[in-house]
């Protein structure tokens, strides 16, 4: 899967949980899920669960631990689907 398809899928997953919609304008690897998009921490769990469903992977808590930016999420997905 190319990075741009992965980014597109992630954007679709996070959008319903984003509290700060302008943060989506510059959506990319650097985008911080908490600071730029203001996703609350309960919804961060929802993001993780939706990523698991979309990519058919399991994200353990150690992997979830570091999922703070879109780039972090991409790395987790890539390592689990490789």
């Amino acid at each position: 899967m190319t990075d741009s398809i992965l980014l597109e899928k992630l954007k679709k997953i996070v959008t319903p949980y984003v509290q700060h919609k302008p943060g989506l304008d510059k959506f990319g690897e650097q985008t911080d899920l908490l600071n730029d998009l203001q996703i609350n921490s309960a919804n961060l769990v929802d993001v993780v669960l939706d990523v698991e469903d979309e990519f058919n992977i399991e994200i353990d808590n150690d992997s979830m631990d570091g999922m703070l930016t879109v780039g972090d999420a991409m790395n987790v997905i890539k390592s689990k689907t490789a």
Partner: protein, 193 residues
């Protein structure tokens, strides 16, 4: 060190469905899940545990200037005492124990965590989320320590933790803000200055 967390129960019911087993297993240990299922109002109990763990995590992150992370299973919460409108507990993170005091009502749950035992070393206030929490904390500090509110300012450090400045010098008071839905709160330590 201090941490706090507030949950607007009405908004939380719209935003999240945390009673799903997969959600529970990512956030709560089996012991914590037992607290939830034994309670007369499981969802409310879940948010009580959630705020306790979040508040403790914030206090811990500040205590050790840690980078942000998200691993709720590393925080183990024990409820020590609970009534209809309040609760106290402990959250263990590694070798550290944080002491929690919570208030619970129909509208919100607020928990405040401190590394020191006893409720005497923390103080909090709940507001409507439309107020400027920084301004209210400045006024509170100004009153309490006799310094003009306009000489107090806030900055975020490299771990995104807000720090208080008085005349451009760090003012060593631990505090924490939390906002959710209709509610906002600050919590601060009580110290002699």
């Amino acid at each position: 060190m201090i941490g706090n967390d507030i949950v607007d129960l009405r908004l939380a019911a719209l935003e999240s469905d945390p009673m799903r087993p997969r959600f529970l297993n990512k956030v709560f240990t089996l012991r914590e899940q037992a607290y939830i299922f034994k309670a007369s109002t499981p969802l409310k109990q879940l948010w009580l545990l959630w705020t306790m763990k979040e508040a403790a995590y914030k206090a811990h992150q500040r205590q050790f200037s840690l980078p942000r992370n998200f691993n709720p299973l590393l925080q183990e919460c024990t409820i020590l005492c609970q009534s209809r409108d309040s609760a106290s507990g402990e959250v263990k993170i590694g070798a550290w124990v944080y002491h929690l005091t919570s208030i619970v009502n129909e509208e919100y749950i607020h928990s405040s965590a401190s590394i020191n035992p006893g409720t005497q070393d923390g103080f909090w206030k709940i507001f409507s989320s439309s107020v400027d929490l920084r301004k209210h904390l400045s006024l509170d500090i100004s009153q309490h320590y006799g310094i003009p509110a306009n000489t107090v300012s806030f900055e975020k450090n490299s771990n995104f933790v807000p720090v208080l400045k008085h005349k451009n010098k760090i003012f060593p008071l631990a505090f924490s803000f939390s906002k959710h839905g209709k509610f906002g709160a600050f919590s601060r330590e009580l110290m002699n200055y």
